[in-house]
């Protein structure tokens, strides 16, 4: 048996591969959504699946998101494992009632009799120059809905591993794909994909001692860049990639913050009532006496997603992150 050396692959390729492997491994896995069949999806994530597995396994649906998700609920009730694609973040909103009132609640309302093993893939976030309604960061809505898992990869390997794990989960998973990372590349060997870990664990992407950057999805790369840039200012930043927003990995996060004593949460969506509020609050509750400074947040502004020509001002960038790190009351330490 020869192993192919790891070669650069895109996140999009890893996601496609994850779907393909999941479909090959389990005949109950069905992909459905708008344009997922013949076209392979507008981001080509489902490319080739209809050809390989047939239209009944990878199905172009009518254009109606509540109908797609609602049908997936029924399919899951009958023992299938549907994977739904929502074409863009804002186009998942029509399915919100199905998501909140059924997908999230069915296991609970039936006291465990009916679980819904379904995965809802949603490309999310900005930075690709998309016109309005194509760049929302909607994770706050899903995090605030008990009964859903919320997962988002930041690396090519995680895209594969987390999507496999999400499809394998017996609970509904909102799988958020950072669209601006679709074409990002990592060395990754598609023939030897990462082990399919259970969801729910954060990971330290870069160890550091001065402060922790808590982040996920599209902002992980930005934080790593900021951490590099911070070296010249004498800061050694740790970067934690949360990977799974629900369930939240308090253990890994608090271990890091207790070590560094300082933290900044970084994400694209607006700060107000966004994920960062929860993260800052729970870190503060759990690590208060180890904190040298309040947990700060670097996020998008609290505005509707801006037009593409202004989005660079909105998205958290290296400078804004470093400014926040600079406000972590370093003087108190001396």
């Amino acid at each position: 048996m020869t192993t192919v050396a790891a070669r650069p692959a895109t996140m999009a390729q890893a996601l496609t591969r994850a779907l393909r492997d999941a479909m090959a491994a389990d005949p109950g896995v069905h992909v459905l959504g708008e344009d997922v069949g013949t076209l392979g999806g507008v981001f080509r994530i489902t490319d080739g699946l209809a050809a390989e597995f047939g239209d009944d396994r990878c199905t172009d649906t009518p254009l109606a998101e509540a109908g797609i998700l609602g049908a997936a609920v029924g399919m899951a009730m009958y023992g299938l494992r549907p994977v739904v694609e929502m074409q863009f973040d804002a186009f998942a909103y029509p399915a919100f009632e199905q998501l909140v009132s059924h997908v999230a609640k069915t296991r609970n309302r039936t006291r465990g009799a009916v679980g819904l093993p379904l995965t809802i893939r949603i490309p999310y976030g900005g930075g690709i120059g998309g016109v309005e309604h194509h760049s929302d960061s909607s994770e706050a809505y899903y995090m605030a809905t008990p009964g859903l898992h919320v997962v988002t990869p930041a690396t090519v390997a995680d895209a594969y591993g987390l999507l496999r794990a999400s499809i394998a989960s017996d609970d509904p998973v909102v799988f958020l794909e950072p669209k601006r990372l679709y074409w990002s590349k990592d060395a990754w060997d598609p023939e030897e994909p990462a082990p399919v870990e259970p969801i729910g664990r954060a990971v330290v992407r870069r160890p550091g001692r001065s402060a922790t950057l808590l982040t996920y999805g599209p902002s992980v790369a930005v934080c790593l860049e900021a951490a590099e840039a911070a070296r010249s200012e004498g800061w050694d930043l740790e970067v934690v990639d949360l990977r799974t927003l629900v369930p939240f990995d308090d253990e890994t996060v608090c271990a890091s913050v207790r070590r560094t004593g300082r933290a900044v949460v970084v994400h694209e969506g607006g700060a107000f009532a966004g994920p960062g509020g929860e993260i800052a609050a729970r870190v503060t509750e759990r690590c208060f006496h180890r904190l040298e400074a309040p947990v700060l947040r670097v996020a998008g502004f609290d505005v509707p997603y801006p037009p593409p020509m202004l989005e660079r001002h909105h998205l958290p960038g290296v400078d804004r992150i470093l400014d926040a790190v600079g406000r972590l009351q370093w003087e108190a330490e001396s």
Binding site: G70, T110, V114
Partner: protein, 382 residues
């Protein structure tokens, strides 16, 4: 080619790829609701079916009365009665085979019970206990759906999945006239038709959505006419004629099972009682209207037919009534027992496995309850 040359050559070219896909004629419902009772067709009905329907309608009527009484005694939080609609409820359940699925709306407790679900378990939701009292897989009955019309796409998905798996299972989904206005109704019917899913949609048009009469709900010739817009047949039936509803639904189920695709059935009926025990129907409708419908009562219509054909006498009626009373007594007795709920259950079925956070919260509540128990009865108070 010059302009002048073109001139002579010009002929109308129809858009070449256009062709109508279906002949709409057969999809359209009749102008009048279909009826069997009181027509010659009723004579041909199997007496066993007539008797089975009758016994269940009488029971159903009694069940509605008993459940409403339980709300007055504080044993049920709320009850949306289907009195006057028993023919639809029972026929829906009887039209299905064992292996089929029922997707009820929140008013359809009777259909759920007629399908085999324990009469007490069917009321679990409405007594303030857990949201679904029965295991949906046991009798293939989905949870009663409170958010209107949301159950319809579920029925489509399940039926579609069954067909993909090669099972000849049909799903029957119930919805009210008001529910037809929701987007989910539209999306479900469209998916069903495009997928040719084995689903039957039963709209009980009982004239009202809480206080809103049908005329404020739709301007369509009938709700059954909506079918043509999806390319499925629409059928209009007298919803108080149990034989007619049964025949139409059985036909639609057979059609679905044989691969003919979905059907939309509108059963014209009437909500004789208020929306729920908490509603005051006098605020929005007069007695006269209710009275005219009481004279077209589904139980009485069936009773007359059986009587006419000599299949039912005073004795038989008494027997049916006694059977219903026994059911009611049992329901009453069992509903009078206090439900016992374990607060720890709050955390157990949010996910297949509780998250670390839910385990923490479970521990918190357990500690609180233990502290309260130690503090004695007053400790429980606030």
């Amino acid at each position: 080619m010059t302009v002048m040359e073109q001139r002579g050559a010009y002929r109308p070219t129809p858009p070449p790829a256009w062709q109508p896909r279906t002949d709409p004629g057969p999809l359209l419902p009749d102008a009048e609701p279909y009826r069997v009772l009181g027509t010659g067709a009723a004579d041909r009905t199997d007496p066993r079916l007539l008797r089975a329907l009758y016994a269940r309608l009488v029971r159903g009527r009694r069940y509605n009365a008993q459940a409403t009484a339980l709300t007055r005694q504080g044993r049920l939080a709320v009850y949306p009665s289907s009195t006057g609609q028993e023919a639809c409820e029972i026929a829906a359940a009887l039209a299905l085979e064992e292996r089929d699925w029922l997707f009820p709306s929140y008013r359809d407790t009777l259909a759920v019970v007629a399908r085999g679900v324990d009469p007490v378990e069917a009321l679990t939701l409405l007594r303030g206990d857990w949201h679904t009292g029965y295991d949906p897989y046991e009798h293939r009955v989905a949870p009663l759906s409170t958010p209107l019309a949301t159950q319809l796409p579920h029925a489509v998905g399940l039926a579609h999945a069954a067909r993909l798996k090669g099972d000849d299972v049909v799903a029957l989904a119930m919805v009210g006239d008001g529910g037809t206005s929701e987007g989910d109704f539209h999306e479900a019917l469209n998916f069903a038709a495009v997928w040719r899913a084995p689903v039957v949609f039963l709209v009980q048009n009982n004239g009202f959505a809480i206080s809103v009469p049908l005329a404020k709900q739709t301007a369509a010739p009938s709700l059954a006419h909506k079918a043509v817009g999806y390319g499925m047949p629409g059928r209009l039936v007298d919803g108080n004629d149990a034989l007619a509803v049964h025949e139409v639904l059985t036909g639609a189920v057979r059609r679905a099972r044989e691969g003919g695709g979905p059907t939309l059935v509108e059963a014209v009926t009437y909500r004789v009682e208020a929306h729920t025990n908490a509603d005051d129907a006098t605020r929005y409708r007069g007695d006269a209207e209710v009275e005219t419908w009481r004279r077209h009562d589904p139980v009485e219509l069936l009773e007359r037919e059986l009587t006419r054909r000599g299949l039912l006498d005073e004795e038989g009626m008494r027997a049916a009534r006694e059977d219903a009373e026994a059911m009611a007594a049992d329901l009453r007795a069992r509903m009078n027992e206090d439900a016992v709920l374990d607060p720890m259950d709050l955390f157990d079925h949010v996910y297949a496995e509780p998250t670390p956070q839910l385990r923490e919260q479970r521990d918190l509540l357990r500690a609180e309850l233990e502290a309260a128990a130690e503090a004695g009865p007053e400790g429980e108070e606030r």
